[in-house]
């Protein structure tokens, strides 16, 4: 399977340098949403790498996808962009853990 990226132009350059050919640049959240939809339908794609700030814009889409996904494909992972990490990064995991265990356990 292959890796695909949904990122800003700078990160896309970085991913390509690392050997990810399908590093797509998006301009706005509408584009990101469309791209995401087509990527999850593509059986070839095993991992989707997505910039945090873009992920935030289409969060509802990501959440719904993760709810409905059967199996593990594709794995979605969020990465920081050039500006640096966003404080909400851990929120998705933290929310799940809080619901599961009932207390904060993450640093």
């Amino acid at each position: 399977m292959k890796i695909a990226g949904i990122t800003d132009p700078v990160t896309a350059i970085g991913l390509r340098l690392a050997g990810v050919r399908r590093a797509y640049e998006v301009e706005n959240s509408a584009e990101a949403g469309e791209l995401f939809d087509s990527l999850i339908k593509n059986e070839e794609i095993g991992i989707i790498i997505i910039s945090e700030r873009i992920a935030q814009d289409i969060r509802w889409k990501l959440d719904r996808f993760l709810e409905e996904r059967r199996g593990v494909r594709p794995v979605v992972v969020e990465i920081p962009d050039k500006v640096g990490p966003i404080p909400e990064r851990m929120e998705t995991v933290r929310k799940l853990v809080r619901r599961a265990i009932g207390v904060e356990v993450l640093r």
Binding site: G14, L17, L66, G71, V72, V75, V93, L96, V97, A100
Partner: protein
């Protein structure tokens, strides 16, 4: 619990059946509790791993972006972009699954993410060594991103399973078992009542016969 009581017929057979169901529910409850505790322990381990994986990946991304900027300064942004476009290969990843206590989690395997300079596909004459540094850093970053993907996905799946198991434990503990027990009490009560009635009736008949 009235609804549960109304639906049942107060007979000894029913009482036995209920006792068996309560026994089963309690055993299930115990097993689920054990499963939940084991899952939570597993989740804690994975969360530790996750923290490390995030830190690692984020540190490497940061370093890589710095090298990229350096490369853009020496070569010009356009040249870097051209080189990046040429630097294509379609990295093959293998997405497999394994089970942690019945929870499906991914294992991601890749070939070598890191490449030799000559394997990157861009021309070495037009490009600066700064670009090689940037590419090397991004390859390292990609490696830890892939690791992060695996660990984060595992943590999420485990957390979801813990939640689901907890829900089932709670519903057995707070709804199903109390319901069965109150039904059992109801039958016992009715049976005792019937017994008293019969006893009394016999006395009356005896007296009438005398």
């Amino acid at each position: 619990m009235a609804s549960a009581a109304e639906a049942i017929t107060p007979t000894r057979g029913e009482l036995l059946k209920l006792a068996r169901r309560i026994e089963l529910a309690k055993r299930g409850h115990q097993l689920l509790k054990e499963k939940r505790d084991a899952l939570v322990a597993e989740l804690f381990d994975v969360l530790d791993e996750l923290q490390d994986a995030i830190e690692e990946a984020y540190k490497r991304m940061d370093e890589a972006f710095k090298e990229l900027t350096a490369a853009e300064i020496t070569m010009g942004a356009l040249e870097v972009k051209k080189a990046a476009l040429a630097s294509g290969r379609d990295l093959e990843v293998d997405l497999d699954t394994r089970y942690i206590m019945g929870v499906t989690v991914p294992i991601i395997e890749t070939g070598d993410v890191r490449r030799r300079v000559t394997e990157r596909g861009y021309g070495l004459i037009q490009t600066s060594s700064k670009l090689d540094d940037a590419a090397r850093k991004f390859e390292a970053a990609l490696e830890s991103i892939i690791k992060l993907a695996e660990v984060e996905e595992t943590a999420k799946s485990l957390a979801r399973e813990v939640e689901e198991t907890k829900r089932r434990v709670n519903s057995l503990e707070n709804i199903i078992i109390p319901q069965l027990e109150s039904a059992k009490k109801y039958i016992e009560f009715r049976l005792e009542e019937l017994e008293r009635e019969t006893f009394f009736r016999l006395k009356r008949i005896k007296r009438a016969m005398v």
